[in-house]
């Protein structure tokens, strides 16, 4: 069963304890309870999968456990009410693989998360773990490993999409006293948590990838830079490293090959910019994480001025799969050269965190090239509560918002960039008609303004200026010409900032203007927020014809500004109203207008 951070919020720790207790009480010796990492279907946590049949129970509570043990485990009967209910057919689904959410996915990287206990290396070893490393060390030259990775077409999963093989090759050829490899687990994009889930659920797959990479480029020292906000990931990686060391998979003379390598963990300090390669390296050196100009790339002069390979968690986790499956197998997955990209398409799978206003939230792993529509509607189940889809935001704060008309776009590094957004690390945030796009743009600029390291002026001051204009617009003080001004400043910031943070920071503004200009105009000209989000533009009032005098709004109003007796029409005193919207949500008769 899943005991990842997300499911822990659904009391999964107590469900786990309940299972252990119940199984001990019933003296079931042949039943093993495993606390695994994220299965991905976070919407329905806490998740329990019963092997070998892979029966999936969703939203399990500690009180359900005795029934599961008594019926399913002892007698092989199903507990109907805990099975997943497919909203499309109205039927209960029995097995994990049959749930539509999983059926359309291709879970190369995440698949093993639900099978292994991350704290036990034997589970990983039982599933071909470290087999790729053994093969590499036994029979492959570093050159050959790099060739394999290059031929597989693997591209950096952290957002840039740079071909991993070329990166490794450059680092191997670069001159230096030492070489380093780094795993970037500073997953800063808000709304993305795939790296956390891999580190927590299958840490050895990342470690194996790093060791293979180190062997290929000739590094003897490696680092995993983990976000401070992910304590469970730090714990899982620390345990996994210790076990790998014990098994002779790290340290000197790995598996008797003569190759020595070790990895240490560094915790980040909560700075978004440290996901940028040069800033991350500065942070590893114990300095404030400010990026530097990359006239000389980090693969030539990175950490402590030495050749350094930095790859994202998901990229590293792909490496053992490619070694075992071979590049010919890997290149069959994904897109071909769809948009004249210099790197020949996007290969393999990509994990997305499908979140926001979507029925099935969670982690989704799909082959590259699947369309946004398939991901959001077929896997994600569409927008909840019958609301209308408005936009999907990909690529985190540096990405953009894509409208309904672009839903048939394939997810591919180059196709998304072409539409003004980007792949990024894989956040996919769905927005419905209740989301205000101007507010979203303001949200991202506010985030980036806080996270800008302040080194270059265009980013530091430009973002501040953008935020000022956006704040003005959402407060109803927008002026004619504001949209043009936003575009002008955006272009300046993008063109003149040093690192990718500034270079891509205006994307949320530019894409929302490009695809949702009418919303900006509604705010500026008519002083209205069509989605009903921007507080200063809202005016709550009671629609007398609909009001039944049920007092529901009266009870929830924190400002006590609603008056009216039971069964009489209520009135909102707008001078006292704080526009919290509690009455709007509490009313069951649509009697509150905003």
């Amino acid at each position: 069963m899943c005991t990842d951070t997300g499911c822990r919020a659904c009391d999964s720790a107590n469900v786990y304890e309940a299972f252990k207790r119940e199984i001990a009480r019933e003296r079931l010796r042949r039943v093993d309870v495993k606390a695994t990492g994220c299965h991905g279907f976070c919407e329905k946590g806490a998740l329990v999968v019963i092997h070998p049949r892979t029966i999936l129970y969703t939203q399990v509570k500690p009180l359900d456990v005795p029934e599961i043990v008594a019926k399913t485990i002892k007698k092989g009967e199903l507990v109907e009410r805990l099975l997943y209910l497919d909203p499309a057919t109205g039927k209960r689904v029995e097995l994990e693989g049959e749930v539509p959410y999983y059926r359309r996915q291709m879970r190369l990287i995440l698949g093993n998360n639900s099978k292994i206990d991350p704290a036990d290396i034997r589970d990983y070893l039982a599933l071909d773990g470290y087999e790729a490393l053994r093969r590499v060390l036994e029979s492959r030259k570093p050159r050959g490993v790099i060739d394999t990775i290059r031929k597989s077409g693997l591209r950096g999963r952290g957002g840039g999409g740079f071909p991993t093989g070329i990166k490794w090759e450059t680092a191997r050829k670069a001159k230096g006293r030492k070489r380093f490899v780094i795993c970037n687990a500073d997953e800063g994009d808000p709304g993305a948590f795939m790296d956390r889930s891999i580190c927590e659920g299958n840490p050895h797959s990342v470690i194996e990838g790093i060791i293979i990479g180190a062997y290929a480029v000739g590094a003897h020292e490696g680092f995993i830079y983990v976000r401070n906000e992910y304590p469970l990931a730090v714990e899982a990686l620390t345990t996994a490293l210790a076990q790998a060391r014990e098994c002779g998979l790290l340290g000197s003379d790995i598996l008797g090959s003569g190759f020595s390598f070790d990895i240490s963990i560094s915790r980040g300090g909560g700075a978004f910019v440290c996901g940028e390669s040069t800033a991350l390296m500065a942070s590893l050196e114990g300095k404030p994480g400010e990026p530097r100009a990359k006239y000389v790339h980090t693969v030539k002069k990175g950490l402590w001025e030495q050749p350094t390979v930095l790859n994202n968690v998901e990229t590293w986790a792909n490496v053992p799969k490619i070694i075992l499956g071979g590049p010919a197998w890997y290149t069959k997955i994904g897109t071909g050269d769809v948009s004249g990209s210099p790197w020949g398409g996007s290969k393999g799978t990509k994990i997305f965190s499908l979140v926001g206003k979507v029925v099935n939230t969670g982690l989704v792993e799909v082959p590259m090239g699947m369309t946004l529509r398939e991901i959001i509607f077929d896997i994600g189940g569409g927008v909840p509560k019958g609301k209308r889809f408005k936009a999907v935001q990909t690529g985190g704060p540096s990405g953009g918002c894509l409208p309904e008309s672009l839903l048939d776009l394939p997810v591919d590094f180059d196709a998304l960039t072409g539409a003004g957004s980007m792949m990024g690390s894989g956040g996919m945030i769905v927005m419905d008609e209740d989301t205000c796009m101007v507010d979203v743009a303001k949200y991202f600029i506010d985030f980036l303004k806080d996270e800008s390291c302040g080194k270059c002026l265009p980013c530091r001051e430009g973002l501040r200026a953008l935020l000022e204009i956006l704040s003005r617009i959402v407060e109803g003080r927008g002026k004619k010409g504001d949209i043009r001004l936003l575009e002008e400043i955006s272009e300046g910031v993008a063109a003149t900032s040093l690192c990718a943070l500034g270079g891509s920071a205006p994307n949320p503004v530019l894409t929302t203007i490009r695809y949702f200009r009418d919303e900006y105009e509604a705010h500026i000209r008519r002083k209205q927020c069509p989605a009903g989000v921007c507080k200063p533009l809202l005016h709550f009032s009671v629609i007398p014809e609909h009001c039944t005098g049920c007092r529901a709004c009266f009870k929830v109003c924190p400002a006590s500004c609603i008056t009216g007796k039971a069964k009489e029409i209520h009135v909102i005193d707008e001078t006292k109203c704080i526009r919290c919207g509690a009455c709007f949500d509490a009313c069951r008769f649509e009697a509150i207008a905003r």
């Binding site: 951070t5 997300g6 822990r8 919020a9 659904c10 976070c42 919407e43 946590g45 997953e187 800063g188 994009d189 808000p190 709304g191 993305a192 948590f193 956390r196 401070n228 906000e229 992910y230 304590p231 560094s266 915790r267 980040g268 300090g269 909560g270 700075a271 978004f272 942070s283 590893l284 114990g286 300095k287 404030p288 994480g289 965190s353 979140v355 926001g356 206003k357 939230t361 969670g362 935001q393 985190g396 704060p397 956040g427 945030i429 769905v430 927005m431 989301t435 979203v440 949200y443 991202f444 985030f447 390291c453 929830v556 924190p558 704080i578 919290c580 919207g581 509690a582 949500d585 509490a586």
Partner: protein, 179 residues
């Protein structure tokens, strides 16, 4: 160690009997010893400064000035650099915190699912703005960007424990149990 001594008194007044804080027993000595232990565990390397400050903060909940001065002397790193690091990284704090720490996630997924309204509701409930600490030291409240539990959005963390699927109508009740 007069500095450390005075810091301790202030903290004792502000945070009486705070759980999890190893209060220095006498003088400033054990405070110094704790710092020395942290320094030793990182091999007294200036390059490990971020990890050192993280450990110090885990112990004290914030970075006391006296102990920063001590680290500066011991590692021969200018205090200005420690200050630069402590203010650059969001994880560090230079002021003491309340008994209960509320971190409301305002990541994108939480944002589109109404985190800002939850924020307003919390601010109304405990009567301070995000970033502040209540006068009775009961709560410190901050917003952070993304706890990585986007599937359960909106979420907050109270004293390291996740509270998920928040709602602006009910969040006040959820805080009542923290005294």
């Amino acid at each position: 160690m007069s500095d450390a001594g005075s810091m301790r008194t202030i903290r004792d007044v502000l945070l009486p009997g705070r759980a999890g804080v190893a209060a220095p027993a006498s003088g400033g000595v054990s405070g110094e010893r704790a710092v020395q232990r942290i320094l030793e565990s990182h091999g007294r390397m200036a390059s490990q400064i971020i990890a050192i400050l993280q450990d110090l903060q885990a112990l004290r909940q914030y970075l006391p000035e006296a102990e920063l001065r001590l680290i500066s002397r011991e590692l021969d790193v200018p205090l200005t650099r420690l200050y630069a690091i402590a203010t650059f990284y969001k994880a560090f704090r230079l002021v003491p915190r309340g008994r209960h720490e509320i971190s409301l996630c305002t990541g994108t997924a939480c944002h589109v699912r109404g985190a800002m309204r939850v924020k307003d509701a919390i601010e109304r409930e405990i009567k301070i703005a995000a970033g502040g600490t209540t006068l009775d030291m009961r709560f410190s409240f901050e917003t952070i960007r993304c706890l990585g539990c986007c599937g359960q959005a909106p979420v907050m963390m109270v004293d390291g424990e996740l509270v998920s699927r928040l709602d602006h109508l009910t969040v006040g009740k959820a805080l009542e149990k923290y005294k």
